[in-house]
Symmetry: C2
């Protein structure tokens, strides 16, 4: 990519979890700046801070006003930007902190889950021109009418990528507590190996499936705005993993592309089934409409028509929204004349991901066979061009992931 | 004052020091709102929070960037406004929180000690019109170019009064941990009694002399903009003390006005003397100019001409600025050819305050006699129309205050 002129670096909660860590981040940032690059830094709240604030809110109201929760939580990152700016200035590195609103990050009005709509980057550019490192509070923005919003937990990655896009940065570096993207979680499979590169599509599937390295929205953003993204560790040196555009690959690289890049899993889902739904047109919409209206994200969806002209409709949601979803489903069941609502929170989703899958048709059956050989029952299946996901009993998670990691020889990478 | 339409209530750090206290404040605010009044609430950071944040900053830099310190400290009040808004909404009382910048509080650019220049109260008025209690973060504002500023510690009182003035509120109620203004500090004199009313001038002298009930700038503001101010307790019921305009008094009340309203004292001062200053025109300016330029506030000033055509120049500053002031004085001494710089931090200022003093000439000599009778040596004297201050050795503070309280029969009020 030639000479880099501007990098956006993002440091998460553990990377800025103490004054010592903040001083270490200041050293890294200063070194980057001293190498001749312009630097914009995005930081999260110090680890534990967001939970501390949420606990205060919950002492007052288990279900507090989301507008006020945003006012509350946005203080977490504001503390970090000020401390990091102080640490840089102390080193003699000119720096200035900006809250999300000050940085011109404009969002929609959905408190707690706001989306960035526009970035007015004039202020940041002016500070960069004056030779300053600009430190921006992640995770937060402002509506057109001046209300503080948050992008949802972990949204600092999205802030970093959005800023990198708006400023046409040469690279967006996400510093985290892992040194790259792995073939799967090393805590589950000890032979898991770091990927040098991964495509945006693969990363997207890995993120959405619960590999917690990056927020999915940040990867979407990065892909959409063609921002080169690199995941690396704030605790040890190393090149990390570069997330690259699919069309960056030369033919040669593509040839070497393995079939499967990684195994992802998600322990945070729960399964809900509406049994005995009359098989009439529009039933699916009648079920999912109210769920969507309640801002609940639905992941996998499976529908089978039974022999008796009724159908079973099954889907998964985030486990935290299980009770809320179940309550809504009961209302829908009554309306539709469905037989019953059943649910299960003791499930996990396991997926294999790889762009190489496109040209290898037999991957799905290989996966199912590997699971069957270990006696693991598959409850739901969902496939896309570069991923196959299954829902299984949560007790079999580790067994399934290790078995698939072995089977697709991911330790050999 | 007839029917009150709008009150501004201010709750300090101890009043919102825990979730329980915030819930209690919400109850008070809700009761006021339910009585038919519009309410704007100004809050401080939860007690201890500002010190916690300062400690973090000081771990990084003993003398951090004041701009960044403002970004850091302003989070303290932001947490409180969000929690109080949640507590009110939980009670079914519509509320909205606003940070200083959101509330349209515009200040000058002096970080850490900013002064309010203008309040754009449109947003607050709109929320009030919609029937909401508006909760504003005290102590903070924004410069014209969008930097976050703080008004200095305790500046929440100033925010409350400035808002009351801008909104033409009918009363500005300062809730604190004392139930009013006392003839002196009850911890020093146990027969100290609560004043029903006090004039702005007296209050101003009491505040500036270290009676910590109200910030002096808030009293100045209130006097200037003719905002009726009431000090009352957030912990127990009671009418508190009303601070009223001098010209509100009828002749009858004025007749009953005691000579002395209270005894104030200040343990936070230190004394500095420049010895052997050549007695030339402009010497005082040459001494105080650089001190003022360094934003150091000078309180008492005494100058005596000696026999040898040189003069001793003595003044007091806040004890925290003693070292800084001394360093500047050494430079000045060299420049002016002064003999030496001496200083003393072990002093206190004790003052008697009262509008009744105006028509009673003998008050000063009575005060000096009372102190002399107890063997207390007076180091400096300063007088104004309604106050007489002396500087004494700090060891005699309690003795001096009790002696004067007795002498002027303040326990009989």
């Amino acid at each position: 990519m030639g000479i880099m002129a501007l990098v956006v670096q993002k440091y998460g909660g553990t990377s800025v979890g103490s004054v010592e860590r903040i001083l270490a981040v200041a050293e890294k940032v200063h070194a980057t700046k001293s190498s001749g690059l312009d630097v914009v830094v995005v930081v999260s709240a110090m680890s534990g801070e967001t939970n501390r604030l949420l606990a205060l809110a919950n002492e007052i109201d288990k279900d507090p006003s989301l507008r006020e929760q945003d006012v509350l939580l946005s203080t977490g990152e504001q503390v970090t930007i000020a401390l990091l700016a102080m640490a840089l200035e102390k080193r003699g590195c000119a720096a200035v902190s900006l809250t999300g609103p000050q940085a011109g990050i404009l969002t929609d009005e959905i408190h707690g889950k706001a989306r960035i709509q526009e970035i007015d980057s004039d202020k940041i550019r002016t500070h960069l021109k004056h030779g300053k490192v600009v430190i921006v509070a992640g995770f937060q923005g402002m509506t057109q009418s001046g209300h503080i919003t948050t992008l949802g937990r972990g949204g600092s990655d999205t802030t970093a990528v959005a800023l990198a896009a708006a400023l046409q940065a040469d690279e967006c570096q996400i510093y985290t507590d892992v040194d790259g993207v792995y073939t799967t979680d090393p805590r589950v499979v000890d032979t898991a190996s770091r990927l040098e590169t991964i495509t945006f599509e693969e990363m997207l599937e890995m993120s959405s499936l619960g590999s917690k390295v990056l927020q999915i929205r940040s990867v979407e953003f990065a892909g959409k705005y063609r921002v080169p993204l690199r995941v690396l560790s704030s605790f040890k040196e190393g090149p990390g993993t570069l997330i690259k555009l699919d069309d960056d690959e030369t033919e040669g690289e593509s040839m070497e592309q393995p079939v499967i890049s990684g195994i992802a899993f998600n322990r945070d889902e729960a399964k809900l089934t509406l049994r005995g739904v009359p098989d009439i047109p529009g039933a699916a919409h009648k079920i999912l409409g109210p769920i969507g209206d309640a801002n609940i994200l639905v992941d996998m969806i499976v529908q089978n028509i039974g022999a008796d002209q009724t159908t079973d409709f099954t889907f998964t949601v985030n486990r935290a929204e299980f009770d809320k979803t179940k309550a809504i489903l009961h209302e829908i069941a009554e309306e539709l004349g469905a037989a019953e609502v059943v649910g299960d929170t003791k499930i996990v989703k396991v997926s294999i991901v790889g762009v190489g899958m496109r040209s290898h048709a037999a991957v799905a059956s290989e996966m199912f066979k590997a699971l069957a050989d270990d006696g693991i029952n598959i409850q739901m299946i969902s496939t896309s061009e570069i991923k196959i996901s299954v829902v299984i009993d949560e007790r079999y998670l580790e067994l399934a992931v290790r078995s698939l990691h072995d089977h697709f020889q991911l330790d050999k990478r």
